[in-house]
């Protein structure tokens, strides 16, 4: 095994550069090193000016999403040895404006987040019980998968629709809305429908399905969106066929 590998890292320093450039670093190739370890090696020993986000280095905080050899990945879960012989191409996540180097701007997602009401909406007439809401393991299974999202934004980077339509709510957000809708304790589905069933909600999605493939945590946002479409369609049919119905 060669003992070094080249990483081609995208650099963009807004106070100097008009457009991103690529800088190559030679780093040691160790079998236990992830791309993140490689970047840390560069930052600590070679070039202190390289900027990127990272924190937990165990795939749960969602900070270190990057485009690695063309794919959206968590740098802390991507091993250098899987990208031999190199060079490993490390770019910022696609579909986001670049602040600097590998750091992308996430304000669009953060601003949209509250619109999906990602919190438990309970019956406001009733005070919360003084015991827990009962929820069987089967009821929990309904939404559990959608609650595993770490907001790493890989699905947004993988989604061509988000790249084209900045208004699109996007995979993680709709999956999160679905996470609460499917929770047996929640009564907020009607409130969320307005936002999620708007044109820039589920209907913008063309089911490319890349979001689900990109997700490092096994969430299936594409499935969440399709299920939401089914629900919305059913509701519409009901209201068309039974206009005098309950609503």
């Amino acid at each position: 095994m060669p003992d070094t590998i080249a990483v081609d890292v995208t650099r963009y320093r807004p106070d100097r550069d008009d457009r991103p450039t690529t800088q190559r670093y030679e780093i040691p190739l160790r079998k236990e090193w992830t791309v993140l370890d490689g970047l840390n090696y560069v930052k600590d020993r070679v070039d202190g000016t390289l900027s990127y986000r990272w924190s937990c280095r165990m795939g749960i905080c969602g900070s270190c999403g990057m485009t690695i050899d063309g794919d959206p990945k968590l740098a802390c879960e991507t091993f250098l040895t899987d990208h031999r012989p190199g060079p490993v191409r490390v770019e910022p996540l696609h579909n986001f404006p670049v602040i600097r180097d590998l750091v992308v701007e996430l304000t669009d997602f953060m601003a949209k987040l509250p619109r999906a009401k990602p919190w438990l909406v309970t019956d406001s007439d009733k005070p919360p019980p003084d015991a827990e809401y009962r929820q069987t393991p089967a009821e929990m299974d309904e939404y559990k998968q959608y609650s595993m999202c770490i907001n790493c934004m890989l699905c947004y980077a993988a989604c061509p629709v988000y790249g084209l339509e900045r208004d699109f709510l996007g995979p993680a957000l709709i999956a999160l809305a679905q996470r609460y809708n499917l929770d047996s304790r929640d009564h907020g589905a009607d409130e969320r429908l307005e936002v999620v069933s708007a044109p820039e909600g589920v209907w913008d999605c063309t089911f490319v399905g890349e979001c689900s493939r990109a997700c490092p945590k096994g969430v299936d946002p594409a499935g969440a969106i399709q299920r939401y479409k089914v629900t919305a369609a059913k509701e519409t049919l009901r209201s068309l066929l039974l206009p005098w119905g309950r609503r």
Binding site: G62, W119, L120
Partner: protein, 579 residues
């Protein structure tokens, strides 16, 4: 430019978000700024795995939880704080349930509880083995409901401003733009988490650099019990990634190179096939980590390129239990060690995990400095004493986050406009950041080099076992490193997302924390909980049934005082496990 809020919360993790929600609920008219150097869902709370303790089963009682906590903490806990903590923990966890936290369930739909180290009853609520992740995301998502919470995501606080003995705000850098702003507030709650990165090998995230401890210390608040640093017995070699205590609570065994469950040799009980509460692998973390060191000394550990390890054996649990209860453990082993715990042994070694000490607060999160509060791992209310029990930290950040929030909501009534001195200090800090750091042309030292030397120094001087000798050496070395820190190179002169600047600031925070740890450890001439002095191997209640408090004296030098431990109903006794 100045931004005004009623309250500044430093840190957007579990404690900070809980405090913010508490204030927003009690006083919707107050404007709350949560300032965090990362987006809230990146905070280190996210990495907590095993669970959160609170009395749940009919057979359990608050007194038992209190006693487990106090004996686990080797009687250094303030018992009034522990009593408040165990009493409020159940309602806090229940509130999380009402906010949507996906706690794991029994077949009948009730919240399930599991066994945990040092606990006499099953009382640890859990969300599989991603409890911290679910807790943090539930809090974060719930916090989005409240319009009075204004988030400053990716802002780095460099200083807490104090005028006339009263806190008046903070100075912070917006990382995205490099703006340096003074943000004034009548109260500041420090919730910045722990400081594991002071050590070379830690479960803690890159961001756990003790910022809040150093900020409070520099502002004049004392740090309490800093010599008590918890080593978790099961971290993955090389990365230091945590393998949750839940792995042992579900029945995992710790074995040495001979496949022998060595804990039976360390006064922790006799091996049984299934997990036994407060026995063997379910002993407290300090004792298990110390047992590891002894095994290494006896030559019964396994040598690896990353130092000696022992094995955690989960194979007998079977795939079904591992998938249902410990999926994250399996995921981490597969991803980072390329082994499957269903069929293979997990190599583990002790790893720095938690800081029992922190900013000294009372039961309401208030520090002795007027207007400054703290909660979570940053704070030391003294419920953890000399050794924290696993699964007590998550309820702690909820209970005392909420309490700090409530206290601030109440006290904010008499808030005053910030005085000119606060604004002047803000200007001062800004000039310092711009001139001394951003424009620094020549630096002799690499940040990472100084940081690594500091980490090795603290590990060697103040590790699982310490001595007067090792601590003296460490103190001298840290003093030298402090000097060198003043001349680290900052090659990055850009304002935009300058992570070299923040790394330099974090390094100086960590050096303050490291020096506090070493100094307090040197002064405590006894062995208690996680603080084990080779030269003073026994507990000494005559002299040291007391908290150490380190603060900056008038002359700018640190000074240590002691305050007696509050004992209410449980007089000091021997810690008994396995019997």
């Amino acid at each position: 430019m100045t931004i005004r809020h009623d309250v500044v919360i430093a840190g957007g993790g579990g404690a900070g978000l809980r405090a913010a929600i508490a204030i927003a609920e009690a006083r919707p008219d107050l404007s709350i700024a949560t300032i965090s150097k990362v987006y809230p869902m990146r905070s280190h709370t996210v990495s907590a795995e095993g669970g959160a303790a609170a009395v749940k089963l009919p057979a359990d009682s608050l007194d038992e939880h209190a006693h487990d906590t106090i004996s686990g903490g080797d009687w250094l806990c303030d018992q009034d704080a522990v009593e408040a903590f165990v009493a409020e923990a159940p309602e806090e966890l229940l509130r999380l349930e009402h906010w949507g936290c996906p706690w794991s369930r029994e077949p009948d739909g009730q919240v399930a509880v599991r066994a945990f180290g040092g606990m006499r009853q099953r009382r640890t609520w859990f969300a599989a083995d991603k409890t911290g992740f679910h807790l943090l995301h539930t809090l974060f998502q719930t916090s989005l409901k409240y319009p009075s919470i204004v988030r400053y995501d990716e802002w780095f606080i460099t200083r807490v401003l104090v005028d006339d003995g009263r806190v008046g705000g903070v100075v912070a850098i917006e990382l995205m733009s490099g703006r340096i702003e003074t943000i004034t507030a009548g109260a500041v709650i420090v919730c910045t988490g722990g400081c594991g990165r002071v050590y070379p090998f830690t479960t803690n995230a890159n961001t756990s650099t003790g910022d809040g401890m150093a900020l409070a210390f520099r502002a004049g608040a004392p740090l309490k019990d800093m010599e008590f640093v918890q080593y978790h017995p099961t971290g993955l070699p090389f990365t230091g990634i945590l393998i949750s205590e839940a792995a042992r609570a579900e029945g995992g065994w710790l074995v040495n190179r001979d496949g022998y469950r060595y804990l039976q040799d360390y006064n922790l009980g006799r091996p049984a096939p299934g997990p036994v509460l407060r026995s063997m692998e379910l002993g407290p973390r300090d004792r298990l980590s110390q047992a590891f060191v002894k095994e290494v000394e006896k030559g019964r550990a396994i040598d690896t390129p990353w130092g000696p390890v022992v094995h955690l054996d989960l194979r007998h649990l079977g795939e079904e239990v591992i998938e249902a209860r410990l999926p994250f453990v399996r995921e981490l082993c597969l991803d980072y060690e390329h082994i499957d715990p269903v069929r293979e042994l997990i190599p583990v070694r002790p790893v720095v995990h938690y800081m029992m000490g922190g900013v000294d607060t009372d039961l309401h999160g208030a520090t002795p400095l007027d207007g400054l509060y703290a909660a979570g791992e940053t704070a030391c209310v003294s419920i953890n004493g000399a050794n924290r029990l696993g699964s007590n930290s998550l309820p702690e950040l909820l209970v005392f986050g909420a309490r700090a929030g409530a206290a601030v909501a109440e006290a904010a009534e008499g808030r005053r406009a910030p005085g000119p001195a606060v604004l002047a200090q803000g200007q001062d800090e800004r000039r310092h950041l711009e001139r001394d750091l951003l424009q620094r042309d020549r630096g002799r030292e690499r940040i990472a080099a100084v940081r690594e030397e500091m980490q090795q120094t603290v590990e060697q001087g103040a590790g699982i076992y310490r001595s007067g000798d090792s601590l003296t050496k460490a103190a001298d070395k840290l003093h030298e490193l402090q000097e060198r820190c003043g001349s680290v190179a900052i090659d990055d002169h850009s304002r935009v997302f300058n992570t070299e600047l923040t790394a330099a600031l974090e390094l100086s925070f960590m050096l303050d924390v490291a020096q506090s740890v070493v100094r307090c450890a040197w002064l405590r001439q006894e062995s208690r909980g996680a603080h084990q002095r080779i030269d003073f191997p026994t507990r000494d209640d005559e002299r040291y049934l007391a908290h150490s408090l380190i603060h900056l004296a008038e002359d700018g030098e640190p000074e240590v005082r002691y305050r007696p431990v509050t004992i209410t109903r449980w007089p000091p006794a021997e810690r008994v496990y396995g019997r």
